[in-house]
């Protein structure tokens, strides 16, 4: 399902003294199968943009096409759209609410009109997909779980409705290293299921570099770049405009360059760095 954003503009509290342009003339296309990173400093418009994708924010200027849906149309089947575009907010574990894990995860499908039996089957599948043992966990209170388990339960609650597009707003924030890795590996796993497209907001450039095939850079409410992580992080000039950090491997490459050692290519991860280093002997400038 292709997502096409055309000249999107959004202003908070328009025509008041608090008026603030959050998105200014944004256009880009997300293709089926993309894992696309949305990056930019706090307040650059990342979350505002993402909340448009399932019409949590209705469009005031511009157009968004999500597959067959026209989000700018007056009449919109919100239920069907929100089932197709799953949205995971920051710290989703704070939104767990039901008495048991099973009920919490089945809540979405029931809301979208599934029978209780079907919803239970979907909940089971979703919990297993996120790597939780259904029988062990289904009757527990969500509040008994560990941080990583809670977040996976929250993700299960979204994917139980079988969305084709998954929007993740800082999915690894606040987790320990192991929990982070589990969530990111899970995203990779999910892409082998019915989830075709992932849109991910993150402040962690190492994550973006390793997991995303494309990246959108927002800066001061405007779309600054629509490119690949490798191109973005190879281009020091581009980066200096954004105030963004670079992945550690890129940083080491740049430090080496400053010392007169040039690596051919831009390694995005430690693994790539080691391979690049071993492959082509770095040459002195």
């Amino acid at each position: 399902m292709q997502i096409k954003v055309e000249n999107l503009k959004y202003t908070y509290s328009p025509k008041t003294p608090f008026e603030k342009v959050a998105l200014d003339d944004i256009s880009f296309t997300i293709n089926d199968g993309d894992t696309i990173g949305i990056i930019g400093s706090t307040g650059s418009g990342k979350s505002t943009l993402c909340q448009h994708f399932n019409a949590l924010i209705r469009i005031s200027h511009g157009k968004i096409y999500v597959g067959e849906w026209e989000l700018h149309a007056k009449k919109l089947n919100l239920g069907a759209l929100r089932q197709a575009v799953g949205m995971l907010f920051q710290y989703p574990e704070y939104q767990l609410f039901a008495d048991t894990v099973k009920e919490d995860v089945a809540f979405g499908p029931i809301n979208f009109g599934k029978s209780k039996e079907d919803a239970d089957i979907l909940a089971r599948y979703a919990l297993e997909l996120v790597g939780l043992d259904y029988d062990e966990i289904k009757d527990k209170s969500p509040f008994e779980l560990s941080g990583g388990q809670k977040r996976r339960t929250a993700i299960a609650g979204i994917i139980a409705s079988r969305p084709e597009v998954l929007v993740l707003d800082e999915p690894t924030a606040g987790l320990d290293p192991q929990g982070k890795k589990e969530i990111l590996d899970l995203v990779t796993e999910l892409k082998k299921s019915y989830v075709k497209t992932v849109i991910m907001i993150s402040h962690n450039m190492d994550e973006i570099a390793e997991y995303c095939n494309r990246v959108i850079v927002l800066n001061d409410s405007k779309l600054l770049y629509d490119t690949t992580p490798r191109e973005l992080f190879s281009d020091k000039e581009k980066l200096s405009l954004t105030g963004l950090e670079v992945p550690h491997a890129v940083r080491v490459k740049n430090l080496l360059e400053a010392r007169g050692i040039v690596l051919q290519g831009t390694p995005l991860t430690s693994k790539e760095f080691v391979e690049l280093f071993k492959g082509g002997a770095p040459c002195a400038k």
């Binding site: 706090t42 710290y91 987790l175 320990d176 290293p177 402040h203 550690h248 080491v252």
Partner: protein
């Protein structure tokens, strides 16, 4: 063995265990088990360990939120389990938590800073002095008369630190205080903590999941399942591959690369930071 006056030990934890129990005294979860450690005056210490490893339990034990089931904790020679000393302990040990929005009690920043000392009955002109000093220390003086709700996450956490400083603590505990912040906010808080430590000689205990926040510490303590399984300089800790694995820690990317290069036959020393790694590579051949 250690003499608390000779070595300037401010915190001494001696064989402390603590379990979480329900009101009917049923065992819920292990907090910490047989932990012994000491922290010297002016040290910058980092506690590492996965979620549930006992880091926060230890922090809560240090300012007398909870008292040990067995063993003793002394802060400046005062036993935390003695009821009469609890206010003294709490004014000596200041804590800042993860969520900046949960720690503000007033709608104007200076009132937030005054809250603690007012409760202790400190005279008004002394409170004024403390507010001025504390806001200056964290670089937030110009916000004194403003509301905290328009601040960025990093600024809010700096105000939270200032509010703790207004109690003139000797020890500052940051319990994942950078976890919810973006890279800029994290850098602000880390810089503030470092400065308090270097310039004011404040003892800082930092709990974090970000390994790069640990590399500059004087000492690192590693917890796993409630037990202290490692203690040493960042270099000693991170170069201990076994320990890192056992505690589910993550190596800094530079360390990872230096180890992998070494394994591939390059004669390169273990690197903690990107800069060290670049230096190490430059010295090859």
């Amino acid at each position: 063995m250690e003499n608390s006056t000779a070595n300037n030990v401010v915190i001494k934890i001696d064989n402390v265990s603590y379990d979480y129990r329900s009101s009917s005294d049923e065992f819920i979860a292990r907090g910490v088990k047989n932990v012994s450690l000491s922290i010297g005056k002016g040290e910058f210490c980092v506690l590492l360990g996965r979620n549930g490893s006992g880091k926060s339990t230890l922090a809560k034990l240090l300012n007398g939120f909870i008292v040990p089931d067995s063993g003793t904790i002394t802060v400046n020679g005062i036993d935390t389990s003695v009821d009469e000393s609890i206010y003294e302990i709490r004014s000596k040990v200041g804590m800042v938590f993860q969520n900046p929005d949960n720690q503000m009690v007033a709608s104007i920043i200076e009132d937030d800073l005054a809250f603690g000392p007012e409760n202790l009955g400190i005279p008004r002109d002394e409170i004024e002095k403390r507010i001025t000093w504390a806001l200056e220390t964290v670089g937030m003086s110009e916000h004194r008369k403003r509301s905290p709700n328009k601040l960025s996450g990093g600024q809010k956490q700096r105000v939270a630190i200032a509010s703790v400083l207004s109690m003139l603590p000797e020890i500052l505990i940051l319990d994942e205080s950078t976890a919810m912040l973006d890279p800029k906010g994290r850098a602000e808080v880390m810089e503030t903590a470092m400065r308090l430590n270097k310039e004011k000689g404040m003892t800082v205990i930092l709990i974090t999941h970000y390994m790069d926040e640990a590399v500059g510490a004087d000492k690192v303590f590693v917890l796993s399942e409630g037990e202290l399984i490692g203690e040493g300089t960042p270099r000693e800790i991170f170069s201990n591959v076994e320990l890192v694995k056992r505690a589910y820690l993550e190596l800094p990317v530079a360390s990872k690369i230096s180890l992998e290069l070494k394994e591939s036959g390059y004669d390169i020393p273990f690197a903690l930071t990107d800069e060290e790694l670049a230096e190490g590579i430059c010295k090859l051949k």
